[in-house]
C-alpha cells in the first residue's frame, strides 16, 4: 500500500512537471524549436522606409563608397538594362531589401529526420531568389562558381536567423549603378516580433565600400500568399545585339545634379561619402542647408501599407 501511494504521488508530480515543461515549449511556437520562429510564409513589404528614394539616376544617399565605386556608378547608364543580353540578368542578393517586393519563404525538410535543410525565398521577376542552407554545409571554395544569388548558409542565433552570403557575381547594390564586387559578402539577420519580420543586411565589399552598407527593412506576415514570379522574356528595347554598351564619362554624367536640385541635397551626401551617415554631418550642414520649397505634387504616401480604415489620402 505504501509503495502504491508513493508511486501514485510520484506519477502525479511527474505529470505536473511534464505539463509545465510542455507549456514552456509550446510558448515557442508550434512545430518550431525553442530559440527559433516560424520563418516560412508570405511576408508583405511594409514600405515605410526609403532606401532607393525616387530612383533618379545619381542617388547614392546612405552609402559609404570608395572613389572607384563613385566613378563606376557615375559612368553607369540605366539603359544598359535594355541591352537584350542584360534584360533578364536580374539584381543580386542585396535586392531582397532594396527591391519593392515581399518575401515568399518555404522550408525544405529532410523527410527522415524532419530537420529543416534549407529555406527558399522565391525569386521575383528581376531578383533571383535565395536558398539559405540550414544543414551545416560549408561554403564552396573561393574559386567556385559565382552567381547573382550567391551561396548562403544560415543558423539560429539568439532568437534570430543569421545568414551569410558569399560567391556573388559582380553586380550592384543600388539600381542606380552603384557597384558591388564579386569579393563582397553579406551578413543577414532576420528578427521576428509578432507579425513583423525585420530583415537586417550588412554588406561588406573591400573594393567598393568604405564601410559596410547596413539596411534594415520591415515585412508584415500576409494572410494572402504572395507570388511575384513572372518569367522574364527578353525583347527588342532599342538596342541591337552588338551595339555599344550605354555609359557616360564619369565626369560628364548629365544627371549628376538632378537629385541634388530636386530636394536641395548636399553633393557629398548624394554621392555617397562616408561622413554623411553620421550625426556630425547634420550639424556641419546646418547653416548652409536651404530647405526645398513646399511640396505641391506627389507629397503623400508611397509604399505598400496595410490599411486599417478608410482610404489613404
Amino acid at each position: 500500500m505504501f509503495i502504491h501511494v508513493v508511486m501514485r504521488r510520484c506519477a502525479f508530480a511527474a505529470l505536473i512537471v511534464a505539463l509545465g515543461a510542455g507549456a514552456t515549449f509550446a510558448q515557442s511556437g508550434q512545430g518550431v524549436l525553442p530559440g527559433q520562429f516560424e520563418f516560412a510564409g508570405s511576408w508583405a513589404p511594409i514600405g515605410t522606409e526609403d532606401v532607393q528614394n525616387d530612383s533618379v539616376p545619381v542617388d547614392y544617399l546612405g552609402l559609404a563608397l570608395t572613389d572607384e565605386a563613385r566613378t563606376r556608378a557615375l559612368s553607369y547608364d540605366e539603359s544598359q538594362k535594355s541591352l537584350i543580353e542584360r534584360q533578364c540578368q536580374g539584381w543580386g542578393a542585396a535586392y531582397m531589401v532594396l527591391g519593392p517586393f515581399g518575401l515568399r519563404i518555404s522550408a525544405q525538410e529532410d523527410p527522415t529526420t524532419k530537420r529543416i535543410v534549407s529555406y527558399v525565398i522565391d525569386p521575383w521577376e528581376d531578383w533571383n531568389g535565395m536558398t539559405i542552407w540550414m544543414d551545416g554545409r560549408l561554403h564552396p571554395s573561393e574559386i567556385a562558381l559565382h552567381t547573382q544569388a550567391g551561396f548562403t548558409t544560415g543558423r539560429w542565433e539568439g532568437g534570430a536567423l543569421a545568414a551569410h552570403t558569399t560567391h556573388m557575381k559582380a553586380g550592384f547594390i543600388r539600381k542606380t549603378g552603384v557597384p558591388l564586387s564579386d569579393e563582397a559578402t553579406i551578413d543577414w539577420r532576420f528578427f521576428r516580433h509578432g507579425n513583423v519580420l525585420t530583415v537586417l543586411m550588412v554588406a561588406r565589399d573591400p573594393v567598393y565600400l568604405v564601410e559596410p552598407a547596413i539596411i534594415s527593412k520591415g515585412f508584415r506576415l500576409s494572410q494572402m500568399p504572395l507570388d511575384y514570379r513572372d518569367p522574364c522574356a527578353p525583347g527588342f528595347e532599342g538596342h541591337e545585339p552588338g551595339d555599344r554598351v550605354p555609359h557616360f564619362a564619369a565626369d560628364q554624367n548629365p544627371f549628376l545634379d538632378e537629385f541634388m536640385k530636386l530636394y536641395h541635397l548636399p553633393r557629398e551626401a548624394v554621392l555617397g561619402y562616408r561622413e554623411t551617415l553620421y550625426p556630425e554631418y547634420r550639424k556641419k550642414i546646418k547653416d548652409t542647408y536651404t530647405p526645398p520649397p513646399p511640396c505641391t505634387a506627389d507629397c503623400g504616401v508611397a509604399g505598400n501599407f496595410v490599411r486599417r480604415r478608410g482610404p489613404t489620402p
Binding site: 510520484c10 539568439g158 534570430a160 525585420t198 506627389d298 486599417r308
Partner: protein, 263 residues
C-alpha cells in the same frame, strides 16, 4: 499492545510521508535541472530586470543613417509626408506646419518625442537608472526615456509628456545560446511630429519597440530598433521603421544639443 500498534503505524506513516516528499522533490529537481536557465530565472524569487538581462544594451550608440536619409538628416519640404500612412485628419496639420510658431509656443521638442526620437540622428547613452529601470539619454534634443520593468505605484495618471510612460519586458530565448530582445510599449504621449516637417501623431499614440543586437563584421555591435507607431487619429496604418545604431567605445563624441523646431 493496541497502543504500541498505533504508535508503530504513526511512525511508519510519518516515515512514508518524508520518503514521498523526498521522492517528489527528487523528481522535480531532476526535471527542472534539464530546463533552460530562463525558466529558472522566471520561476525564482523575482531577480531584477538588470540582473537577468539577456542582452546588454548599455553604453554609447551612434545613429547610422542609411534609410530615410532625406527625411532624417535634413528637414524635408513642408507638406511632404511620403512613406507615412497619414490620415485625412493629419493633412491640415501637415500643410499648416509652422516651426516658428512651435518655437514661440515653447514646443521646440515636438519632433523629439517617443514617436520620433529614435530616428533623430544623434547618440544614445543607455544606462540602468536602477535595477528595474533602463534609461536612454539622447544627445539630440537632450531627451530622457525611462523603460520601467515594474509598474509605477501611482494612483493618478501622469501628465502626458514627450517621452510618455514606457513599460518594458525582456523577451528571452529559451535555447542553449540564449539571447533575446527588449520589448517596450510607450503611451501617454504629448502630441508630436513623426518628422521634422510637422507630420503629426496624437496623444492617443502608442509606440511599440523591440531592441535587438547584432554583431558587425569588424567586431562591433549594431543596435536595431524596430518601432511601430500606431495612432487612431492621424495614421491610417501602423508606421513601422527600424533605425539602427553602432556601438561606440566611450562617450567622447557625446554632444548634447537642445531641441530645435527649425533644424
Amino acid at each position: 499492545m493496541k497502543r504500541a500498534f498505533v504508535s508503530r503505524t504513526i511512525k511508519v506513516r510519518a516515515a512514508s510521508l518524508w520518503l514521498e516528499v523526498g521522492l517528489v522533490g527528487l523528481v522535480v529537481a531532476v526535471v527542472a535541472w534539464g530546463m533552460p536557465a530562463s525558466v529558472h530565472a522566471q520561476a525564482s524569487a523575482s531577480p531584477s530586470a538588470r540582473d537577468t538581462a539577456p542582452i546588454d544594451l548599455t553604453g554609447y550608440w551612434v545613429s547610422y543613417v542609411t534609410e530615410n536619409w532625406r527625411y532624417r538628416m535634413v528637414t524635408p519640404a513642408k507638406g511632404e509626408y511620403r512613406r507615412i500612412p497619414s490620415s485625412q485628419a493629419a493633412l491640415p496639420i501637415i500643410n499648416g506646419w509652422d516651426p516658428a510658431a512651435d518655437e514661440r509656443a515653447g514646443n521646440p521638442c515636438k519632433s523629439y518625442g517617443a514617436g520620433a526620437i529614435m530616428t533623430v540622428p544623434g547618440r544614445l547613452h543607455i544606462t540602468w537608472q536602477d535595477a528595474e529601470t533602463l534609461r536612454i539619454d539622447t544627445d539630440a534634443g537632450t531627451q530622457t526615456r525611462l523603460f520601467r520593468f515594474t509598474a509605477r505605484a501611482s494612483t493618478s495618471k501622469p501628465t502626458p509628456s514627450w517621452q510618455g510612460e514606457s513599460t518594458a519586458r525582456w523577451e528571452r530565448v529559451p535555447a542553449p545560446d540564449r539571447g533575446g530582445s527588449l520589448s517596450v510599449v510607450t503611451s501617454n504621449l504629448r502630441a508630436g511630429y513623426l518628422r521634422k516637417n510637422g507630420v503629426p501623431y496624437s496623444e492617443q499614440t502608442t509606440v511599440t519597440e523591440h531592441f535587438d543586437i547584432a554583431p558587425l563584421p569588424d567586431g562591433g555591435q549594431l543596435l536595431l530598433v524596430t518601432m511601430t507607431v500606431e495612432d487612431p487619429q492621424y495614421l491610417n496604418a501602423p508606421y513601422v521603421v527600424s533605425p539602427h545604431f553602432k556601438k561606440e567605445p566611450d562617450g567622447s563624441k557625446w554632444n548634447p544639443t537642445p531641441c530645435s523646431s527649425t533644424w
